[in-house]
Point group: C2
Chain length 350, copies 2
């Protein structure tokens, strides 16, 4: 309690520390695991929360925060401090009137066992616990509302349209593909292994899927899967894939740019040559920020929870056990090692 | 009259013929001027129009029609037939109930003295003749509604925003800049000569303007003119300019892609490297087709006619006299020889 009780429990706090800004592919050694101490109590007079972290989310945007240059949306990590990211946590002490001890929350937290959270605006209280709590790092959290807003709002989909999703077995992609199928679209996904391609076809119900690593000519591959062209491209990778997709867009096509994971580790981003398609086919390419859609969270949650309960949406996550496994799990995103949503389990126990 | 009168006047008809599909920069010799004959009468039983062409419009998209590959929006020219394009014409004979002898129209016509028009859907009757008729190839025609729709609809502008227009002294650019000023935006334009830069600043009232040919580092130039960044980019050129603009976009910025004239003559379009901005700044890049906005034509016309009459919008056109001057005038677009909207005058006399 933040009310001045004199209980002051100090505990050991394992942390994943960000070493320094990087270029190129991130490595496990760009982070290190250390142990500090933390007081399990909110400083008196603040509106902070003291939380116990349960599940941490590995998301591609985190690579962007490892660059020294920030932007309006992306503040770089602080060298020597813990990595931050989305996670599920339990409130141990609260100075904020909206939260109390025992509440479960999801939002931005630290890669550590316990965090003192001073920025509480982006935290959501978890009301539905009949699903695994880890889902709030994915299908019911930031990636979920990203998929929801990106598909329904940015892509303006219509029944019967041709939809292509890259990085389709990832946290966002698997959902986008299923939303599109539920809407009556024809959906093809790309992924980076045979196993993932099978998952897309057999578990998530994509109409078709291919392994981009086995396609020397992406343009030819897309022409094979979309002889009529592509109405909607849900963009997660950028670079060569985007260039090939542009050659296959239909008139009035839409490209929702969720991310460009293939470009995050390059010093010089690849050149995209086929932007004339924007003119030839009146295509819209639109970036979006999930934060702009946070006001729709409860609508989203009702929509997706119902689908989960009815078994109409499947969800696959890849759980790495223990904070120590965090760096490898995060790095694994960029080689596509994860199968499904990559989560780091700090503690399964509430 | 198409009613079976037996008057059958056959006249000589000068034409600009498209020779064959090209790559690279178009040359005057890709067209030739010839003289055929034409009957000044609509074939009985058709809904065609027989028109006398007065003014022809030179527009960058015409280069796209000189490529052998078409697209949904752009059907290639037919080698051996006259160039087609937008123009102002007078109806000499009509088989269509909506048009009668003496009507003035604008829309797609042939590069020739007289044309038999069988596709009448895209023709607009000219009601306001208190402005020069040539204006219906520009400010009151296709480029006008392009600027109107591109700026007001695609760019979603707000007062006080920072607006950049490339090819800003052209038919579309000069209007976009003035619309933006009238809305209370800060507007900078780029053009390819000192004379055009002066025109932008002194005639069209842009806040500032620069000659892109004198800027070895476009990114640095844009940072000088937009220290706060760019909210809206009205894209007419593509390539290196787009790449530099992307580095200077503000969050939630919008890029309306009207054209990419710098790319039309290249066998291999330039690579654009800075598309990560779409993610970093949640930018929207949107192509659009003026045809989708034709239903708004009369609203547009009222809007712009009022501005013209009040002297609030200036308009500069570059008139080339005679059909023979057509090929040079059209080619001149791609080296920026024209100052203002390039028009070919077939005949000033009604």
């Amino acid at each position: 309690m933040a009310d001045g009780s004199d209980k002051e429990v100090v505990v050991r706090n394992k942390q994943v520390i960000f070493k320094d800004y990087i270029t190129g592919f991130p490595k496990e050694s760009d982070m290190h695991v250390t142990t500090g101490n933390i007081k399990l109590k909110v400083p008196a007079g603040t509106k902070a929360l003291l939380v116990k972290n349960l599940y941490l989310s590995c998301d591609p945007y985190m690579r962007i925060l490892m660059r020294s240059q920030g932007s309006d949306l992306f503040s770089p990590y602080t060298p020597g401090s813990p990595i931050t990211g989305f996670g599920v946590a339990k409130v141990l002490d609260s100075g904020h009137p909206d939260f109390k001890e025992g509440d479960l929350v999801w939002g931005t937290t630290g890669w550590e066992e316990y965090s003192l959270l001073t920025a509480t605006e982006g935290l959501f209280k978890i009301q539905h616990t009949e699903v695994p709590l880890s889902y709030y790092t994915g299908i019911l959290g930031m990636p979920g509302i990203t998929a929801y807003a990106g598909f329904y709002e940015v892509c303006s989909p219509k029944k019967g349209e041709y939809v292509f999703v890259s990085a389709a077995s990832g946290a966002v992609g698997q959902l986008v593909g299923q939303f599109a199928k539920l809407m009556g679209c024809y959906v093809v996904g790309s992924a980076g292994s045979k196993e993932k391609v099978e998952l897309l076809k057999n578990k998530f119900g994509f109409d078709d899927a291919f392994n981009y690593k086995e396609e020397p000519d992406l343009n030819a591959a897309l022409k094979r899967y979309f002889p009529e062209g592509i109405d909607i491209y849900f963009e997660n990778v950028g670079g060569k894939m985007l260039d090939a997709v542009l050659l296959n867009m239909r008139i009035h096509g839409r490209i929702a740019v969720c991310g460009m994971i293939s470009q995050y580790n390059l010093d010089q981003p690849e050149g995209v040559h086929n932007l004339m398609t924007i003119v030839y086919k009146t295509v819209r390419i639109e970036g979006f920020s999930v934060f702009d859609y946070y006001p729709q969270y409860s609508k989203f949650l009702d929509h997706v929870l119902a689908y989960i309960k009815d078994g109409k949406i499947k969800y696959v996550e890849d759980l790495a056990e223990g904070l120590e496994s965090g760096p490898a799990a995060l790095i694994g995103l960029f080689s596509g090692r994860n199968v499904g949503k990559q989560v780091v389990v700090v503690d399964h126990r509430l």
